[in-house]
C-alpha cells in the first residue's frame, strides 16, 4: 500500500487546486489600470489642510520637523499680519518642504502637529526621475481652497484671528 498513499495525497492536493480554480476569484489587481482601496488609517503622501474659510491650518511651528525621525521636513516661518494673513495667529509657514525620498511614512508628523495641518493621505503613487522632484513644496502639499473660502493671503478683520491653535477635540480616525 506504499504506493497508493502518496498518490491519494497528491490527488487531494490537486483537488484543492482545482476547486480553487473554479470557485475563487483571482486576487491579482491589474495595477495601474485598476486600483485597490486603502484602509482608513493608511499612511500615504501628505497634504496640508485648510480651514473652511481658506486659511491654512499650518502655523509654521516646525514641530512636525522636530518629530520626524527621517529629517524629511523643512519649515521656515514668517509673521502674519491682518493685511496679509495665511493662517490664524502670528505665525505661518513661509517655506514648507517634505522630501518624499527620506520620508518613511511613519505619521509622526501628523501626531506632532498641534493644528492637524499635516495629514498623511492615501496616495502611494510616488515616483520620480530626479531626486529633486521628491522634494514637495508647500504649493504641492496644500489642499485647494474649499468652497466658500478665500485663497491665502487674506485681508482679515483685526483682532479676529489672534490664536494659532484652536481649541480641539481628540481626533477620531
Amino acid at each position: 500500500m506504499r504506493l497508493v498513499e502518496p498518490f491519494l495525497e497528491l490527488m487531494t492536493g490537486m483537488m484543492t487546486t482545482l476547486k480553487m480554480l473554479v470557485t475563487e476569484k483571482p486576487v491579482t489587481v491589474q495595477y495601474p489600470e485598476e486600483k485597490k482601496a486603502v484602509k482608513p488609517r493608511y499612511r500615504g503622501r501628505h497634504y496640508l489642510t485648510r480651514y473652511e474659510n481658506g486659511l491654512e491650518k499650518c502655523i509654521g511651528c516646525a514641530l512636525c520637523a522636530a518629530a520626524c525621525p527621517a529629517d524629511a521636513i523643512f519649515v521656515e516661518a514668517s509673521e502674519n499680519t491682518d493685511e496679509k494673513r495665511f493662517s490664524p495667529g502670528d505665525r505661518y509657514a513661509s517655506t514648507y518642504e517634505i522630501n518624499m525620498l527620506r520620508c518613511i511614512y511613519c505619521g509622526f508628523c501628523e501626531d506632532a502637529c498641534p493644528t492637524e495641518a499635516i495629514v498623511l493621505g492615501d496616495n502611494y503613487e510616488l515616483s520620480f526621475t530626479d531626486r529633486r522632484q521628491a522634494v514637495y513644496t508647500k504649493e504641492m502639499l496644500i489642499l485647494p481652497v474649499p468652497q466658500g473660502g478665500a485663497p491665502t493671503p487674506q485681508v482679515t478683520e483685526p483682532g479676529k484671528f489672534t490664536r494659532s491653535v484652536p481649541e480641539m477635540k481628540d481626533p477620531v480616525d
Binding site: C61, F74, D90, R163, V165
Partner: protein, 807 residues
C-alpha cells in the same frame, strides 16, 4: 574670605561661603532647585514661590542656649511647618535642606499648576519654545491635567510693542519681575514697571521711545517665559534647529563674547545664515550680558547688499594689479588700516609694509595707544573684582554710548564699594552711579586730569586706591587731544603699572584698535599730507566717506587700493578693490581694550569671491616676493607669538581654554540663568605689558576753547549712528535718528535756535542740516557734533550755526 558654612542638601554635605543662598549652594552641589524669579545676578525677591523646599535648622535649647540633641546625640532639627523659598534663605551652619521630598515636590508642582492656569500654552509658535524654563518645569513636574476651569483663563494682549525692539505677550508673563529688576538694578535704566494688581498685573514701559535702554535685549534672555521676545529674531527659527558658533561682538572695544545662532535657510537662498546674537558667558568681560548694539546691529552689516565680491578670475587680476601698484610704489606706498582688522591681519599687513619700506598707519579718531600698551591693565585684571578701596576714573567718555557693557560693569563696581569718578564735559548716564562727578569745559580735559590729584577727596581716592583703573575716551577730542589726555591719565598711574586690576584703558571706537597699537601701528598725525602723491592702500576704513578733505587727499594720491567688506566712498574711488571676508566668515582674534586676546570662530561660510584679510596680504606678499603666512589664522598667530613680545605664549589652543565660571548659566536645567550660552570655546588670554620704555607723560597740552562770540565744534559719539557697521541694521533706524548737534541753551539763545529746531551747520568746509538738542551740562560756545552722522568732524574746530529756513 568669608566664613565657610557646612550644611547638607538632600543628604549631600556641602561647604559654601557664609551668605550663600540655598539655591546657589544646591547648584554648586549639582542639585537643581527650580526657580523663576531668582536670577544669580540679581538680589532675590521671593516673588514666584517656585523654589519651595524643606529647610531644617538645628534647634537651640532655650534653657541652656546650646544646640538641642536627640536621644542618640545627633542635633535636633527644627523644620518650619510650611515650605520655604530656597532663593531667599541664606545658608546657616548645620542646616538640612530637602528639595526632593514628597512635600517639597508637591509644593513645586502645585505652584506650577497655578502658573499654568492662565498661561496660553503658545509653545508651538513661541520664540522661547525649546529653551523655556516653564516648559522644562512642566515636563519635569507638571501634570497633564489641570484642576482649574479652562474658561476662566485670563485673556490679555498678545502684541504689546515695548518699543520697536522688544515685544511683550501679556498672556505669557508670569510676573516674576526679572525684567524690571534687571533694568533697575543691573542696567540702571529703570524704564519698566508693573501696572495694576493681581491677575491684571501688566508690564509697562515708562520711557519714550518705549523701552529706551541699550540693554533691553538682555531681558529677553532672562525672561523665564516667552513674554519678552526680540523683534529681530521673531519667528526666525525654532531654538533646537539652531547651530552655535562662538564669536565676539565687533561693535566696540569691550569685546563681548557672543554666540551666533545659525541655520541654513531658504530665505537666504539655501545658505547658512546668522539668525541671532546671544551672549556667551565670560565673567571677566561681559558676564552674561550684551548690549543692544551688539545684539541688533551686531552682524547685520555682513549681510548688507553692498557687500563686495569678485569671481576667481577678477580676484586674481585685482590682486595682480594691486601687487603691481605696490611694487612700483615701494616705499612710496602708504598703508591705512581700520580697527576692524584682526590681530593676524594687522601682523601680516605690518610685515608686508615693512618689506616694501612703506609706512603703515592705523585709521582711528583716537590716539594714545602707546600709553595703553605700556600702562594698560595688568594680566589677570577683571573689572568684576573691583570693589571697596578701589578707584575707577572715567575721563572724556560716555561709556553708556561708547562701550555699554563697561557702563554696566562700572556701575556694579561702584555698588560693590569702588570709588567711581566721572570727569566729562557733559552729563553722562554714569554720573548717577559715580561717587564724584567732575564737570569741565570742553578743552580743559588735560588740565582737569592734571588737577585731579590735587583735589581733596578725589585726590585721596586716586592716591590711596588699592587698585586704580583709568578709562579715557575721545568725547570732544581728536587725535592730539586724546594723545595728551592719555599721557595725563598715564601719569596718574605711575607706580601702579603692570599690576593686576590697575591700568589705563582706551575707549576706542573699534574692536581691535588695541591690537593694532600692540602690534606697533599708530595713527598719522597729519594724514592728509601723508597721502599726497602716494600709492595708498586703504584697508577696512572709509576715510573718503568720513571726511571730504580726506577724499580730496585720496584724489591727490597716485593710486588708491581699497580692501573692505562693504562698498564705501573709498572703494568707489579706488583703482583696485579687494573684497574681504567678514569676521563672521573666518577665524581670528581681537584684542580688547582691556588687553585680552580673544578668539572668534567661523560662523558662516565666506561670501563668494571674498578672502580673509590676512590671506589677501599673504597673496600680495607672494607676488611681491615676501613670504607671509596665509594658510590659516592659527599659523599667523603662532608667528605673532614667536615674534611679538606682548603676544608671547599665546596660541589658539590657549585662547580656547575655559575654566569653570560662576554663576552656572544652565540653559536646559531648572536653575535658570537665561538663554545666554555657556562658554566652551575660550575665555581669552591677557597680553603681557609692552616692555618698551613708556613714553614721557608730561608737557603735552593743546586745547581749543571757544573765545567770546565764537563757536567750537567738538566730536562726540552716540551708540547708534550711521557708520558702515550700524546703518545696515534696519531695525535700529528709528533709534539712530537724524544728525543732531548739542548746544547749551545759553549759546542757543544767542543764535535764536530752538530745542529740536533745524539748524545749518557749517564745519570743515561742509554745510549740513541737523537738529539742535539742548544740553545744559555742556559749556557755552561749544557745539557737540555726533560722529558718523554725515557731518565730518575729527578734531575740535570752529563752526558756524544758523537757523535753517523753515520749510
Amino acid at each position: 574670605m568669608a566664613k565657610l558654612i557646612n550644611l547638607t542638601i538632600n543628604g549631600v554635605a556641602v561647604t559654601v561661603p557664609d551668605g550663600t543662598l540655598v539655591v546657589d549652594a544646591a547648584k554648586k552641589a549639582g542639585i537643581d532647585i527650580p526657580v523663576f524669579c531668582y536670577h544669580p545676578k540679581m538680589e532675590p525677591v521671593g516673588m514666584c514661590r517656585q523654589c519651595l523646599v524643606e529647610i531644617g535648622r538645628p534647634a537651640i535649647d532655650r534653657a541652656t542656649g546650646q544646640p538641642a540633641l536627640n536621644d542618640d546625640g545627633t542635633p535636633k532639627l527644627q523644620f518650619m511647618p510650611k515650605l520655604e523659598t530656597a532663593c531667599t534663605n541664606p545658608v546657616s551652619e548645620g542646616m538640612v535642606v530637602l528639595t526632593a521630598t514628597e512635600k517639597a515636590k508637591a509644593g513645586q508642582k502645585e505652584l506650577l499648576e497655578l502658573l499654568l492656569t492662565s498661561h496660553p500654552l503658545d509653545c508651538p509658535i513661541c520664540d522661547k519654545g525649546g529653551e523655556c524654563p516653564l516648559q522644562n518645569l512642566t515636563v519635569e513636574y507638571g501634570s497633564s491635567q489641570s484642576r482649574f476651569i479652562f474658561d476662566e483663563k485670563q485673556r490679555a494682549d498678545k502684541h504689546v510693542h515695548l518699543g520697536e525692539l522688544i515685544n511683550l505677550d501679556r498672556e505669557r508673563c508670569i510676573q516674576c519681575a526679572r525684567c524690571i529688576r534687571f533694568q533697575r538694578d543691573v542696567a540702571g535704566d529703570p524704564v519698566l514697571g508693573f501696572y495694576q494688581r493681581g491677575r491684571l498685573t501688566d508690564i509697562v514701559t515708562y520711557s519714550d521711545p518705549g523701552f529706551d535702554s541699550v540693554f533691553s535685549g538682555n531681558t529677553t534672555d532672562i525672561c523665564p517665559v516667552g513674554a519678552l521676545t526680540t523683534a529681530d529674531f521673531r519667528f526666525g527659527a525654532r531654538s533646537w534647529e539652531l547651530k552655535q558658533s562662538a564669536s565676539l561682538c565687533a561693535q566696540c572695544p569691550v569685546g563681548c563674547n557672543v554666540t551666533f545662532n545659525t541655520r541654513r535657510e531658504a530665505k537666504s537662498g539655501g545658505v547658512m545664515a546668522i539668525k541671532r546674537v546671544m551672549p556667551r558667558q565670560n565673567e571677566q568681560v561681559n558676564e552674561t550680558w550684551i548690549c543692544d548694539k551688539g545684539r541688533f546691529a551686531g552682524y547685520h552689516y555682513t549681510e548688507a547688499e553692498s557687500r563686495l565680491g569678485l569671481d576667481a578670475a577678477s580676484m586674481e587680476s585685482a590682486l595682480s594689479q594691486a601687487a603691481d601698484k605696490l611694487a612700483a610704489a615701494k616705499s612710496d606706498a602708504v598703508f591705512l588700516a581700520g580697527g576692524r582688522l584682526s590681530n593676524e591681519d594687522f601682523y601680516n599687513l605690518k610685515q608686508l609694509a615693512a618689506k616694501l619700506g612703506a609706512k603703515a598707519y592705523l585709521y582711528s579718531p583716537m590716539a594714545g595707544g602707546e600709553y595703553t600698551t605700556a600702562y594698560g591693565l595688568g594680566a589677570g585684571s577683571n573689572l568684576g573684582d573691583l570693589g571697596k578701596d578701589d578707584t575707577v576714573l572715567v575721563v572724556a567718555s560716555d561709556l553708556y554710548n561708547e562701550a555699554p557693557v563697561w557702563h554696566l560693569r562700572l556701575k556694579a563696581a561702584a555698588k560693590r564699594g569702588a570709588t567711581l569718578i566721572v570727569a566729562a564735559g557733559r552729563a553722562t548716564k554714569l554720573d548717577e552711579f559715580a561717587s564724584f562727578v567732575v564737570r569741565y569745559a570742553y578743552g580743559d580735559e588735560v588740565e582737569t586730569v592734571k588737577g585731579l590729584a590735587g583735589k581733596e577727596k578725589i585726590g585721596d581716592a586716586i592716591k590711596n586706591a588699592a587698585n586704580l583703573v583709568v578709562f579715557y575716551g575721545s568725547d570732544g577730542l581728536g587725535l592730539a587731544g586724546t594723545s595728551a589726555l592719555a599721557a595725563a591719565c598715564a601719569d596718574l598711574l605711575n607706580g601702579k603699572t603692570g599690576k593686576v586690576n590697575n591700568g589705563l584703558v582706551g575707549v576706542w571706537n573699534a574692536p581691535n584698535t588695541q591690537g593694532a597699537y600692540e602690534l606697533g601701528l599708530a595713527p598719522a598725525a597729519d594724514l592728509k599730507s601723508e597721502l599726497k602723491g602716494k600709492t595708498v592702500y586703504v584697508i577696512a576704513a572709509d576715510p573718503a566717506g568720513d571726511d571730504p578733505a580726506l577724499a580730496d587727499a585720496l584724489k591727490s594720491a597716485k593710486a588708491v587700493i581699497a580692501q573692505d567688506i562693504l562698498a564705501t566712498a573709498t572703494t568707489q574711488m579706488a583703482a583696485v578693490v579687494l573684497p574681504a571676508a567678514a569676521y563672521t566668515e573666518r577665524e581670528g582674534t581681537y584684542t580688547t581694550a582691556e588687553r585680552r586676546v580673544q578668539r572668534f570662530y567661523l560662523a558662516v561660510p565666506a561670501k563668494a569671491g571674498t578672502r580673509a584679510d590676512f590671506a589677501i596680504f599673504a597673496e600680495l606678499g607672494k607676488k611681491l616676493g615676501v613670504e607671509l603666512e596665509g594658510r590659516s589664522a592659527l599659523l599667523v598667530m603662532n608667528k605673532i607669538a614667536a615674534e611679538e613680545k606682548a603676544f608671547a605664549g599665546i596660541s589658539y589652543a590657549r585662547l580656547a581654554e575655559v575654566t569653570a565660571q560662576w554663576p552656572i548659566v544652565g540653559r536646559g536645567d531648572l536653575y535658570y540663568g537665561g538663554t545666554g550660552y555657556e562658554n566652551k570655546l575660550g575665555l581669552g588670554v591677557h597680553l603681557a605689558l609692552a616692555l618698551t620704555p613708556a613714553p614721557s607723560t608730561s608737557g603735552r597740552g593743546g586745547q581749543m576753547r571757544p573765545k567770546e562770540n565764537e563757536l567750537v565744534a567738538v566730536p562726540v559719539s552716540k551708540i547708534y549712528d550711521l557708520g558702515v557697521t550700524m546703518a545696515p541694521a534696519k531695525l535700529l533706524g528709528q533709534r539712530i535718528g537724524a544728525a543732531a548737534v548739542g548746544l547749551n541753551p545759553v549759546t542757543a539763545a544767542k543764535l535764536n535756535v530752538e530745542n529740536g529746531g533745524k539748524v545749518q551747520v557749517q564745519v570743515n568746509g561742509v554745510t549740513a542740516e541737523a537738529i539742535a538738542r539742548f544740553d545744559e551740562s555742556i559749556s557755552t560756545g561749544v557745539v557737540l557734533i555726533y560722529r558718523s552722522f554725515g557731518i565730518p568732524i575729527s578734531e575740535p574746530t570752529s563752526v558756524k550755526i544758523v537757523v535753517a529756513e523753515k520749510a
